[in-house]
Amino acid sequence: MKLIKAIAFSILTGGLFLLLQDFPAPQIPFSVGAFFNPFSGFWQNGEEPVRYQETLAIAGLQEPVVVIWDDRRVPHIFAQNDYDLYFVQGYLTARHRLWQMEFITFVASGRLAEILGDKPGIVAHDRFRRRTGMVYAAENALASMQTYGPARVALDAYTAGVNRWIAGLSEATLPLEYKILHYQPEIWTPLKSALLLKYMAWDLCGRNDEVLKTRLRAALGDAEMTKLFPSTAFRTETIIPPQTRWSFRPVSAPAPPESLFMPESLVELPAPLQSTGSADNGSNNWVVSGKKTASGRPILCNDPHLGLNLPCIWYENQLVSPNVNVYGVSLPGAPGVIIGFNKHIAWGVTNAATDVMDWYQVRFRDKNADAYWYDGQWRPVNRRIEAIKIRGKPTVFDTIPMTHHGPVAYRENEHPLRRDLPLGAALRWVPHDASNELRAFWLLNRAKNYADFVEALAHYDAPAQNFVFASVDGDIALHHNGKFPLRWPGQGAYLSDGSDPTYEWDGFIPREHIPKVLNPRQGFLQSANQNPVTERYPYYLHGNYATFERGRRIHERLSEMSNITPEDMMQLQLDNLNLRARTVLPTMLAALDTARLTAGEMQVYHLLEQWDYQNRRDARAPIVFEAWWDEALSALWDDDLPADSLGVILYPEEGVSMQLLCEDTASVYFDRRDTPERESYAAVMQQSYQSACRELITRLGPPGDRWRWGAARGTDIRHLARIPGLGRMGLPTDGNYAIVNATRKYGGPSWRMVVALGNPPQAWGVYPGGQWGNPGSAAYDQFVDKWLAGQYYELLYLSSAKQLHERLVGKTLLQPAN
């Protein structure tokens, strides 16, 4: 009896231990015991002191470094040499953002299954990252970074700083997410910094519509495609003012093939695991020259629109050494400042959106895929073997066929991760090539004038950006900068023939010939991801350029403004005018036969009729316009365009739809091909309006508070790993994606910055997050409410560590330890 009791309780106790040690949670590996342990679990991740007054002995530093903390927990790092500067930047970034910066590199390199295990879609995600050559791209970038001394020093120092912080961590001081997901940080390496930059490259220039367009072209033919995807976009105000003259002699463009390649058979797409990646990253930047400002000095503005997460993608800091004093936002994981200003200049970026990614249909010799056909002969395929480790399961090995174009991401019989990834095609992608963006940022952080700016950008290849520039000397400039393939007109719009050398890139547009402009007569410059140039530009560029609204609105406002102050610029960043609605809605409304509307539909009609086209959070018209727009597009196109095997239809460029809705209302596209009658524009508008009303009433009830834009759409800032409870959900935002204040459901302006050049420079900024990545700290989401309210912080640009200011609240002295 005693024996049975003893055995029974031993089993019970042992079982209890095992259960709490490794809890079989449905989503994540989880140790309940470790997590709830008050001595090292989540209870230890509380608020840290705000007002640092500390002296730390740090092995690896060369000289003492002083860090001044302001009241927003922004570190102002004063070092006596560059090595120490980037060492401390790495150390502090890891101190406050370690989990985030490491997690992103796991995403980039396709290693999520190591953390999350064999959960649905995770291994497929990892495979996708490997197949698209992310690690290969990072390896090439790293090799290049190591060729330039100062960039290598920065990278090595940053790495050493991050690792110094990691070495001092204990179980109790691990960031919360490590405890939730029950794993440990690993050693930081320079390759991880390169991976982070390639992750950004994929996010910004890792998509195009070649597959979907090829399918559409096969069904509709070339003439129709030209109508649906015209080369000049509707009402676009180009980035480079149209009257700009190109004074260089262009290198000759390669010759096009006699007839454009069409794959023999388009493999029907099996169901992808995700829809296409979000293509609505976008950004605004602009600059006004001194002749338009109240101060007589330029003002520069930037708000990059990205997916919004907590912790935020940006970390704010000031970096000072004897050869640099720069302030701005950094990407946790990479040394230097990405967007910011120094005493002499300021700069900002928007995504260039010019296509730098072509897919080449590859013909393999046989199923073994050890040779592919190119230029009349079989060429050997190289193989890259990738080991995908899976937590709690055996490692999966993946073989990637490599051609001279690049990796073949998916074979004919495989399931791609996303709809826009073709099968049996090799990827040629500019960010796969060796490049040294770190060198560009190193130089940019130290630039004193326009010549320095140009020199810095010569080293910046990808992801291509519109770099806006202003100097205290009064220069303003905008460069559509990056490494752009030299193509024949039309090249790369569709799937390319991987066996024909005609489809190769014939080199790149010389950097001196990229679209750029300095000190234009109009006194201002703007970019909003739109087409950079008119057809007068002598090279062929194409891309997923943004529709006209944001760029045109900014252009319209800047043209009419004078005596501009920084406050005016903040107001413009927060501008909520829905230019799309102002353009198309009057015509759409006029087409409605109000006599045939129900009382409810009339009520909605009055909302639209009285709307001032402002997408304010309390307005109820914006959600109606959105719903009607969607219904109208569906009514306009669904009968004209073929759906793929999954019922998905690629719509033409939105500019084409806008033009039809407000100018070409007699177009044949309005006729429904599936009915014998000839439908008119008015009939299509009436029907789509009524179905939009029905849809809204079903979803939100009769027009009331739930129709308010801030509630009906709103913005969610989710946790980076989508852990519930760690985000800020349901924020009632103004704006929308094609509006200057470009908020979205899961994205928006990730850093609003206004810099008034001068001595000293004055700047304001805000991002929807907080400096510290710890969800247990008030600094985790400290700036979110201010961002939501459209307010800014004044940024403190210090000239010395001894400078006094009421907002400086702490000091960390880092001493070299021997």
């Binding site: 005693k2 003893a6 309780f9 040690q21 709830f36 342990n37 008050p38 001595f39 409870g725 969800p775």
Partner: protein
């Protein structure tokens, strides 16, 4: 019981291992346990009390922001539930381990207790 509590406190402060709430009551029950009930109680109270007080200390102090977020993550209605869970884990683990320690030791005793 006080001895068990103090040893546990020291080990928990010095090392990151959560399973001391098993190990210490188990050893206590084995070497110092006087009866099954007493061993169970010693483990339950020492580990339960320690985790209750320590969790409460953070809950009322620096964990004011992290607790609601973690509670939301776990789908708890109130963050106070996290204190209760911590205490409960301590109690159940400590109690079971204490009793088990005593029962195993009891197998080797010559005279029945």
């Amino acid at each position: 019981m006080i001895l068990s509590f103090l040893i546990l406190l020291v080990l928990q402060m010095l090392t990151p291992y959560w399973w001391w709430i098993f190990a210490v009551p188990l050893l206590y029950g084995f070497f110092r346990g006087k009866s099954g009930r007493q061993s169970l109680l010693a483990g339950l109270v020492s580990a339960g009390l320690l985790w209750l007080v320590a969790a409460l200390y953070h809950f009322l102090g620096d964990a004011a922001l992290v607790a609601p977020r973690v509670a939301q993550m776990l789908g708890l209605a109130a963050p106070e539930g996290l204190v209760a869970i911590s205490a409960l884990i301590g109690m159940v683990c400590g109690g079971c381990a204490g009793l088990t320690g005593f029962l195993v030791r009891d197998l080797f005793r010559k005279t029945p207790h």
